[in-house]
Symmetry: none
Subunit: 271 residues, 4 copies
């Protein structure tokens, strides 16, 4: 299956402003790209790149004062298979977890698992450890939080999402991640493209999506408490402890986001 992916963001900056962009397809999916998914900044500015501590590719620019358009348009191959996790995926004892997963057990800016310890154990402590427990978390989160863009609030933590009972996909994800960590299951936040393939319209939001991965049985597995059905055509952009680590754009100065479009559309194979 081929997906046309891309975005167009338009900002207004009152003054030259440093910006970090995490808008390239993640290295684990780069081999599926038909061409480099270049970030096009207009007007053109000098660009440099680096890899952060999680392996995400980050782009640094100084946006000039005025209107700046940041865009990309590319084509990516996908298996076309829906998310799946082997039913037998067992939970690993903390002492057997690989070192590189341990940071994903710690509390972070928006996944304040330390405030959710008692709640997590009272809600999910009786669920079978492993896949079943993560699914119980996703069930709960999916039903507990009322979705609505009008509920978006960038500083909301998992604990606050639990208390307020509403949010957007990042809140669903933060809460589920925080519950996993409270239960000693490494969990990391993911952001990327997610189309509406096989989903009744008008389901897809024309925005980037958030989901998470939990570490079970020696592997990272995809979970999506917002959609809560297996989906097709996720294209990962970046992974981290939570949304603070993988903001699409981090701007170091005031600005206005004037417009924002994202596309993830199935296209016919050339053949």
């Amino acid at each position: 299956m081929k997906l046309r992916i891309g975005y167009e963001l338009t900002y207004a900056f009152p003054q030259p402003t440093p910006v970090i962009l995490m808008l390239n397809v993640h290295f684990s999916r780069a081999s599926d790209l038909e061409r480099p998914d270049n970030i096009v900044v207009s007007p053109s500015v000098p660009v440099s790149g680096y890899r952060d501590g999680f392996g995400n590719w980050c782009t640094r620019i100084v946006a000039p004062a005025g209107r700046v358009r940041i865009s990309s348009d590319s084509v990516v191959n996908d298996t076309g298979l829906p998310d799946s996790v082997a039913a037998s995926a067992r939970q690993m004892p903390v002492e057997d977890l690989p070192e590189e997963t341990l940071v994903f057990l710690l509390a972070s800016r928006y996944c304040d698992s330390d405030r959710l310890l008692d709640l997590a154990w009272s809600l999910f402590g009786t669920a079978e450890p492993g896949l079943k427990r993560v699914q119980a978390i996703c069930d709960f989160v999916h039903h507990h939080i009322a979705f609505g863009y009008e509920h978006a609030r960038p500083t909301r933590t998992a604990f606050e999402a639990y208390e307020e009972g509403r949010g957007v996909c990042r809140d669903f994800t933060h809460l589920a991640v925080a519950f996993c960590r409270a239960l000693n299951i490494p969990a990391r936040y993911c952001t990327g493209y997610l189309g509406d393939i096989g989903v009744p319209p008008p389901y897809a939001p024309g925005d980037f999506a958030a989901w998470f991965e939990a570490y079970l049985d020696g592997h990272w597995h995809t979970f999506d408490p917002r959609n809560h059905v297996p989906r097709i055509g996720r294209v990962l952009l970046a992974q981290g402890r939570d949304a603070a680590d993988v903001a699409i754009t981090t701007t170091f100065g005031p600005n206005t986001l004037e417009s924002f479009r994202v596309w993830t559309d199935e296209i016919a194979d050339a053949a």
Copy 2:
């Protein structure tokens, strides 16, 4: 100057419990140790180690059920010089910061700088950028927060510390770090030994201390808004985004900390 440093922690665990310890002197001070600062666990258990993403040495054990004592006793050499920063330490524009410092601009669990943006700019936006601005932050934090062990609360964030106006050394540090990041100054949280050398008793708490480092003029510089006077004899244990990253012990299960002692005492030179 020689310092005798060490600690003795006694825990009671109802069941075997995985624990991560960050209780070794930081590699940057290893050369000052007169002997290995071994972590002694009693009863003896297998230990393994790893270096986290910040370079801190972490020790993993599975604590057995029952009473467990974790201790160390070592001697470290120190210059005996007080903290100091060159008055000319200038602030670097974000676009000139080295890549490895950028993660220390992001919000984190206890340094919720994203909630302190407006406040930070209104309080410190007129202070001269660079050393002066960081000092203004430390001045403010030192006077704004009332110190008291009875005010300790492990889930308190920088924003909450600001609102509540009280806390312990980690709260002073979190608030100052969060202000720095809100003002685009990389700042990292430090934990370690800090004795009471040259300080009127009974000033020193017999606990580990928290302070922070700010990145100015191409280097990391030490600041301590809790004590707010240049101090002698800091011995770094670990560095990270905030206290979540550098907890002395991270326990994966219920437990009771039965006793806790830390010492940092000047001793006579052998020579």
Copy 3:
């Protein structure tokens, strides 16, 4: 200024052969492209991509047996300004260099700086550190090596280029890079398009060009000991330790390069 850039390479492969291509414009110039600089492989084959450790975009194909044409044709915007470096660009002490520059101090396949240490210090040790010293290196290299395509030899190292006194633009670049590293100045090899704008014909070779960047005063600066005059219209393809890292094509099997054309031509603005 607008430049039409592109290439056409024709290979004959006796059998299906894996090939890695580094033929996309570097991400730092992607915003200057008027359209995607797609690599067109004829006959068509599946392609996949990845980013190497230096951030270069690499394309993987398995070329079929027979004749294979690899081509691209695009348009890129350019400032039209010649190369320049501030006269005050100072050299940084090794201890102040950012971590990400340190790999560019090490010897590499074609920049055998370890064999040029004594020579480098005897030739350039009295030149003022910083920009002046790098310029002294470029002066020397420019005059020491006699240019000629008949002198091309793909295995020639910097030391051998020094001894033989002849070569092509990659040899000029390797020797200058190796001298810089021997003198503790980080230097990286660059490859890309370079037209003949403002240069008396028939100067430009219709080939890709090599130049290098030296790290001075906190930034990478462009130097070109082959041309040795400020040039207009460089379009970077890839950067690395030397030509081994940024070969336009790396073929894993026998083959014949039947034809090779590169163009970098100024075109009239559409406006």
Copy 4:
């Protein structure tokens, strides 16, 4: 099995000199350490650390003028099992190799595989691809090169080692690595401790050892053409493209290595 590992290097520096040290046990073996393998520098100096592009932990110091001792002494657990590779380890086609292995196919400073292409295919082209071919390489290298410390020459490449027919363990390793790469088998250079367990004295050199890993069948496997028998108790320090990437010390200025000791000794279990 427990191994006591450590080293003591004494340098004389005529002036303050930046040094990069790669003297910590590799992260993949860190969990086997009983305590942090601190690098002790005497006299004490400020120390900072970073992880290079291969994941090796590097330590930066500015060594003061005069005599400087760099040492460590630690204890590491080991399986006690000899090197082994499954006889069935098959070679992977280049197009199936993971991206992160591809850099280990390229020529590098001391592994000038581009000069050994014809020779490699004529010598090993008829050996069965995969494990057998790598073993044929190791056989050849082991017998072709005469070992002798008097043959050490730090600038010797693989091609030169082949021509000269003599060298030390790094030359054996460079030549075997270069042959592997010439035959499209990813190979990386390793350095570390290697004791004399189960080997008739006086076999062990009291020095760090070099060996390599080849990528077969989806995994990295250990080979040691110098010793050419399965050995027990390797403790990895660092991995890279060749010895240029993993020098124990990289000094940026003149100096004298006054003494050098390494130990890797089996010790009795405490129990």
